[in-house]
């Protein structure tokens, strides 16, 4: 059980997709204008990651080596499109904010990266756990980045405004994403990774 648990916790710290592997930077920088947006994007990726990891671990033994990348991409794209349609239908608000970045999950290196590096060598159960771990790690990172940007940039946390007026607007805009990501990466690698 300890090994299974470490599959999940690895995704948080040792293999943290954002701060350690530095994968999936496009949605990380673009969607983290607030904690809620980061959380939603993280969960959307988590959903795709878990399902694609499971499907690919099942398919891997029967797919010939030469076409394994096209097959993985088709599988991932299918799950992303399913997610997109479902979000459009049932959470139109979240879809309006994330819209453009949902289809981009297809080319998120994390998803294909886990398929190549993990899912095609492990069984369904382990692949699902890995997907959950990495997905949660991604979600957590995005939420933290979003929270920092929201607190500094709009004086709010998870939509709750604790000060009147605007914050330091640069943090809500693109430059702030790079700044916050950079400093969080420094802090993460200096303090958390060591322990």
């Amino acid at each position: 059980m300890g090994k299974k648990l470490s599959l999940i916790t690895d995704g948080f710290i040792k293999n943290n997709p954002t701060f350690v592997l530095v994968l999936g930077m496009c949605p990380t920088l673009a969607t983290t204008t607030s904690a809620i947006n980061g959380l939603e994007m993280g969960l959307a990726t988590l959903f795709v990651l878990v399902l694609s990891n499971m499907a690919i671990s099942l398919l891997a033994p029967i797919v010939p080596d030469k076409v394994h990348i096209p097959v993985y991409i088709v599988v991932i794209a299918t799950f992303v499109t399913v997610l997109q349609l479902v979000m459009q239908a049932f959470t139109p608000g979240a879809y309006a904010t994330l819209g453009l970045f949902i289809p981009l999950i297809v080319v998120n290196c994390i998803v294909l990266g886990r398929a190549e590096a993990f899912a095609n060598k492990h069984n369904v159960w382990e692949s699902a756990l890995d997907g959950i771990g990495v997905g949660l790690g991604f979600t957590l990172s995005l939420t933290v980045i979003g929270l920092v940007r929201e607190v500094l940039g709009s004086g709010a946390a998870f939509g709750w405004k604790f000060m009147p007026g605007d914050g330091v607007l640069a943090f809500v805009m693109a430059p702030g994403a790079f700044l916050v990501l950079g400093y969080l990466m420094v802090i993460f690698n200096k303090y958390l990774k060591k322990s």
């Binding site: 330091v168 607007l169 640069a170 943090f171 805009m173 430059p175 700044l179």
Partner: protein
């Protein structure tokens, strides 16, 4: 292996230390600071004090507690950054915005890259742009308080460059005169007197603290580009004199673009660097959505300095 201590540059030791260079820069800034305090009074003094003191203190704290290398603390350079930052802000800037600017200039732009000599961007300019993006309302509020000397005529509330949108290019051109050369209210605090800024710059050149090529190249490029556009359509594009005298051009060209760390080492590199700044300034002023582009132009060209240095080698040591 650990017997040899590798330290970041500068490695050359000479009688001219960083601190003595920075003392000269501070002396060169004095005329412009005196003029701005005369015209803006206590409010300007407060901004200068907050900015200078917080820059020095933040640098000291980071060097001592975060980097734990007190040896690299250089109060002179931090002081210059603080003064330049204050001169780049409107006098009405609240003190806490100045403080945020100081934290950004020293903490993010300078110390994150390794401190003195390592920063890619000019800290004062980068902080000004950061504040401009973050607090657009406060940073474009040019209302000025009464200073120690009475203003000769009523101040209209828009900068010279802002007037272009109100009066049109021809009307704005008429404003550039001998008077604007001596004093020009509105805009960032340090921009009041072209004469005072140029006096400081001449002092630096005479003392051989800086070489004149970058500044001259910026002025020449701005004048030529403006002259060409003005000749084509004087109703749409302001002329060379107006563009040389307005906004932060003189402040930027004399004191910001010539920063040692973030400008090319060779003379020809400096000329190319200056041309880039001058050209970008004019493009932003004519076609950009912000009225002023000196700070953006300097930051953009800061990024190209390593490339320029590769293309134009400086004088090699031991050769004439």
């Amino acid at each position: 292996m650990d017997k040899h201590i590798v330290s970041p540059n500068p490695h050359i030791h000479s009688a001219v230390s960083t601190e003595s260079l920075m003392r000269d820069v501070v002396i060169a800034l004095v005329p412009a600071i005196v003029v701005s305090v005369l015209f803006y009074g206590w409010a300007e003094l407060l901004i200068l004090a907050v900015s200078a003191v917080s820059c020095v203190l933040i640098e000291w704290a980071i060097v001592k507690f975060l980097l734990k290398r007190p040896g690299i603390f250089s109060p002179g350079a931090a002081l210059v950054t603080g003064l330049l930052l204050a001169m780049n802000l409107p006098v009405s800037t609240p003190w806490w915005i100045v403080l945020i600017g100081a934290v950004f200039a020293i903490g993010v732009v300078k110390m994150s890259f390794g401190g003195l000599g390592q920063n890619v961007f000019n800290p004062a300019i980068a902080a000004r742009v950061f504040l401009l993006v973050s607090f657009p309302q406060q940073m474009t509020n040019w209302t000025a308080p009464q200073g120690f000397v009475a203003l000769p005529d009523a101040f209209s509330g828009a900068t010279l460059l802002g007037q272009v949108h109100i009066l049109g290019a021809e009307g704005a051109d008429a404003l550039a005169s001998v008077q604007t050369f001596l004093y020009n209210i509105g805009g960032s605090a340090g921009e009041i007197s072209a004469l005072a800024l140029l006096a400081g710059w001449v002092y630096l050149v005479v003392r051989k603290v800086i070489r004149p090529w970058i500044t001259l190249s910026i002025f020449a490029t701005v004048a030529i580009v403006a002259a060409i556009f003005h000749a084509v359509d004087p109703t749409a594009y302001t002329g060379p004199l107006f563009n040389l005298l307005s906004g932060g051009l003189i402040l930027g060209a004399c004191f910001m673009a010539t920063d040692y760390v973030t400008s090319p080492m060779s003379n020809w590199g400096g000329v190319v660097f200056g041309f880039g700044i001058g050209f970008l300034v004019m493009m932003i002023r004519y076609f950009g959505s912000y009225p002023e582009g000196v700070s953006f132009a300097i930051l953009l060209m800061n990024m190209t300095v390593p490339l320029i240095d590769r293309a134009f080698h400086g004088k090699k040591y031991g050769r004439a």
